[in-house]
């Protein structure tokens, strides 16, 4: 095996192309091409309009209680058309065209003089460069495919719930397109929060499950924390550069590179970073993503694996001209990414729920992407986003197919040998492809993209540590990925159905059968007799195969990159605002173990992957009880007990946040409520209100009904007035007289 690895490394390192070096050298301070307005591209507005129309149609379907698959058809058609439009533009422009802006309509746009700092311009307009197109291609493409998949997957919900689901998907595509195509940060913020909304609605799709509701809320609120960072970043950018439009900003950044900046300028990337970390589930704000698996699986595949969570990567790649001015910020991004990757991988190793394992793997892979951004290869990061979108969507969709077939069963302890179960063959083998790609098996797309990131990290002495962390994480990744596959798809056939209880919107539906709670989720499940898995049909299988093909093809640019040829992903990144980080450093002198970075990563990466798979093979297929024994052994030893406990409990991060934020906030809120009711309202307001009453009490004896009392008061008042008047006169004229 070692021999094979070294052979591989040898063959791969033969040609780290010189052309790449030259290209990179020219990229280092390449200017960002100024965007030109191109009104003729206004038809790109349809990319936004189509999901919007689809959303409206879905809402109408819900309102009119359409029971057939019309919402799915609308959505698939709309998203497919959007994809076609994006593709058309890409084919028309090619990967290397200069950025253009397309003004659609004025949005938040006002001024008090015009020009920077004298106006605020945030319009609904598009900034289309190759980075936009790269993202849009896989967003709309995968969106279409996953919508198609969901049209079958969500069948059981037909009725308002079905329409609601596709409404959410359409809203998501609308917001994501706006996010990616925005020409200013505020429209990006619109998309940013819009995808959060879609995520909220879709995570909470099964709203009758309290856990789903809680997960949706958690996702939205944690994203809001990040959004606040993004908002502060936007304000800081406006204060410092006077505009929020990308075109003008990039020029301003170029100027600023020569100028001096205040302390608040260097704060900007950190604020944006907070937003990115929230959206992409990175270290301080990652705990929402595993919980988000409460949503339907296509949602997990589309939003929480392939597209939405990469918005953070997109943001930083888009703002690369700013980040490249602030090396500290870049380093922070890299370190956060690496630590998240490691942490999530350790948690992923100890989870039993397939979707949760994949969720942690998503976090972990996102960590790699941020690491790539941090160490300076936006190309690597973008490429990893691209490959990851395919193989992770594939993994989730296979998990969804399993879940769909086994009534919601996702516990890998209760599933085994699926590849031999009739109808699950395609699922099993496509899942194997996904697992191989995720664990960066040599010559898979995941291998190439991860390679790019790690090589860049290893090349720089500053970031070499990150490279080692990444390699270690790669081993863990291979282990936990194949732990799933060996458990679920390999081995003897054995399974138990889950207790899936989908919420139904249709009141007529639950009018008849809710005495036996939850077993009508699949009307055709034969509850009384033996359980029959419900094999996926055409839509699911074809989508799986298509995405699988996409995942395989996604490796082509990687091969090209290795051979030093220009590949289209790199070309696209290098023609965007991320131009300065579009290449990969190719340090040829040895950095460790006498190997240059490339060879080092190839050898150790391959080793990590194969090692992880081997361990998984051993303890999860060949000797399955070994895993339990290992766990028991670790638990029984006082010194190592913390390891499995913490990993299974996700390092207690949720509990930590609860103790640090939610609990104090809860206590403070109650205190403040008490304070508000009893101090401000009770003591101050009502107390003040009682002063006249008390004064009245003081004088009440005068008003006991006796006429003289009233008269006396009246006379007293008269005397006071008279005395005052007389005294005034005395004071005013007495001296003169």
């Amino acid at each position: 095996m070692t021999f094979a690895a070294s052979m591989l490394a040898h063959s791969l390192t033969l040609a780290p192309g010189g052309g790449g070096d030259a290209a990179h050298a020219s990229l280092a301070d390449a200017p960002i091409v100024a965007a030109t307005a191109d009104p003729s591209l206004a038809w790109m507005g349809w990319v936004l309009a189509l999901p919007a129309i689809s959303a409206v149609l879905c809402a109408l379907c819900a309102a009119f209680r359409v029971k057939n698959k019309l919402p799915a058809i609308c959505t698939v058609l709309a998203l497919g058309s959007a994809f076609a439009l994006v593709l058309k533009l890409y084919l028309a422009r090619g990967p290397g065209a200069a950025p253009v802006t397309v003004h659609l309509w004025d949005w938040m746009n006002f001024g008090w003089g015009g020009g920077p700092w004298k106006s605020f311009q945030a319009d609904v307009s598009l900034y289309i460069d190759s980075l936009t197109l790269l993202w849009m291609l896989f967003v709309t493409g995968l969106g279409t495919l996953i919508a198609l998949y969901a049209s079958e997957y969500m069948e059981a919900e037909r009725g308002p719930g079905y329409a609601r689901f596709f409404f959410g998907v359409s809203v998501f595509l609308l917001a994501m397109s706006a996010l990616v195509m925005a020409d200013n940060l505020v429209l990006l913020y619109f998309g940013w929060e819009g995808v959060g909304l879609a995520s909220y609605l879709l995570i909470g799709f099964y709203y009758r499950k309290p856990s789903a509701v809680a997960a949706a809320k958690k996702a939205f609120i944690m994203n809001r924390v990040g959004d606040l960072g993004l908002a502060v970043g936007i304000w800081l950018i406006w204060v410092n550069y006077g505009t929020v439009e990308f075109g003008a900003l990039f020029q301003a950044f170029d100027d600023a590179a020569r100028g001096v900046g205040g302390w608040d300028r260097s704060l900007i990337p950190f604020c944006l970073m907070l937003g990115a970390f929230g959206k992409s589930a990175q270290l301080p704000l990652f705990t929402w993503l595993p919980d988000a698996m409460e949503g339907p699986t296509p949602v997990s595949a589309l939003i929480h694996a392939a597209t939405m969570v990469t918005a953070g990567v997109y943001l930083i790649a888009r703002m690369q001209p700013l980040f490249s001015l602030h090396p500290d910020a870049m380093a922070t991004v890299g370190w956060i990414g690496a630590l998240t990757a490691l942490l999530a991988a350790t948690i992923g190793m100890a989870q039993y729920d397939i979707k949760r394992v994949f969720a942690y793997s998503t976090i972990s892979q996102l960590g790699y992407m941020f690491m790539g951004l941090g160490v300076g290869t936006a190309f690597g990061a973008a490429y990893h986003v691209f490959t990851h979108a395919f193989f992770k969507a594939l993994l989730f969709l296979t998990a969804g197919a399993v879940m769909h077939g086994f009534a919601g069963q996702l516990d890998l302890r209760h599933l085994s040998g699926l590849r031999r179960v009739p109808g699950f063959r395609i699922v099993s083998w496509t899942m194997l492809i996904g697992c191989l790609w995720l664990s960066a098996f040599p010559y898979s797309a995941g291998f190439f993209s991860k390679d790019l990131i790690l090589v860049q990290a290893m090349s720089s002495p500053r970031f070499q540590m990150l490279g080692w962390i990444g390699l270690g994480t790669a081993a863990l990744t291979a282990y936990y990925t194949f732990r799933v596959w060996f458990r679920v798809c390999a081995g003897p056939v054995a399974y138990a159905p889950g207790d899936e209880d989908h919420g139904h919107d249709d009141p007529a539906h639950d009018a008849h059968g809710h005495a036996a709670h939850g077993d009508d989720a699949h009307g055709h499940d034969d509850h009384g007799g033996a359980f029959h898995p419900h094999a996926p049909r055409l839509a699911i299988n074809s989508v799986l195969l298509l995405i699988c093909a996409g995942a395989i093809l996604a490796g082509v640019p990687g091969i090209q990159a290795l051979r030093g040829e220009q590949n289209w992903v790199q070309e696209m990144v290098s023609n965007s605002s991320a131009v300065r980080a579009a290449g990969v450093d190719h340090v040829t002198e040895p950095v460790a173990f006498g190997m240059d970075p490339h060879k080092l990563v190839t050898v150790f990466g391959t080793g990590a992957c194969l090692g992880g798979i081997a361990i998984a093979l051993w303890i999860h297929l060949l000797d399955r009880r070994m895993a339990d024994r290992l766990r028991t052994a670790l638990l029984s030893n006082g010194l190592t007990r913390w390891l499995p406990t913490s990993m299974e409990n996700k390092w207690y991060v949720d509990e930590l946040y609860h103790a640090l934020f939610r609990l104090p906030a809860w206590v403070t809120s109650h205190l403040l409520h008490f304070f508000d009711r009893h101090f401000i309202d009770g003591l101050l307001v009502n107390g003040l209100g009682r002063v006249p009453v008390a004064m009245g009490r003081l004088f009440q004896p005068l008003y006991n009904g006796a006429l003289q009392g009233y008269a006396g008061t009246m006379a007293g008042g008269l005397v006071l007035v008279l005395a005052w008047v007389a005294w005034k006169w005395l004071g005013a004229t007495g001296g003169a007289a």
Binding site: A706, Q708, G712, A715, G716, L718, V719, L722, A723, V725, A726, W727, W729, L730, G731, T733, G734, G735, A737
Partner: protein, 296 residues
Amino acid sequence: MSPTPTFMNAPLMPWYIAAAIGAAGLLMVLRPGRAAMRRAGAVIGLAGFGLLLAESLKLAGPADQSISTPFMMAFAAVGVIGAVRVVTHPRPVFAAIYFILTVLAAAATFLVLDAEFLAFALIIVYAGAILITYLFVLMLAHQSPEDEIGHIGAEDYDRVPREPFVAVLLGFFLLASLGSAIERGPELARENAAAATARLAERKAEAAKSMPRLTVALPEGSNPSDAVSNVQMVGLDLVAKYPASLELAGVVLLMAMFGAVVLARRQIELGEDERRKAAGMGGMVLDVPEHERGGA
């Protein structure tokens, strides 16, 4: 004099002292029983009033030939004595009679102040009509002229004053403030006597012109306006200057008459059934509280 006078160095200090003495006297008079004490109080009170007068005369201008100061002072003393008796007398009827004394004294001062018509009108209307009504009502109300102890006709609530100290204190402050007002108030007018006299002459001439009949019998060479009497002036004022007020006064009297008639009618006590019948509500049950049903 200090430009910012305080209470203590105010020029009215003697006035305050006099008022305090008068108040103390009144307080002593007000305490029931102890005839000697009350007499002493009367003396002190009068002394206080005298001091008041003396103090104000010090501030006043020269004597006016047409107003006799001694007479004025005598009538004032009589009026004040009457008033004090109104306030202190234990028997209401006598109090009312003392009030007539005060009215008479006031009428006398009116005479001295050249308001002849008002002087007689006061006697006729007040002493003749209003006070007689009061007396009538008092007598109507008091059916027990004498009790065993010998306080003739004096109910407890007539003998025992209510919170005399507070009342007198209040009165003292009122009088003190009024003193300041009397002293300072006219300054606002800032008009000398000559101007006033001139205006009177002018008005009299005007009145004379409007009343040519009265000037026929005048001796040769005399000013026709000298013959214009006080009555004529007041009359002219009423009809020429305040006709609307005069009408309103008439309306007020009319309404008062109506009111008195209505109140008197209510005194015919009907039984509940009769009242219902009268109101046309024979069958209805009225929820009238017990004490509302009349004292019959």
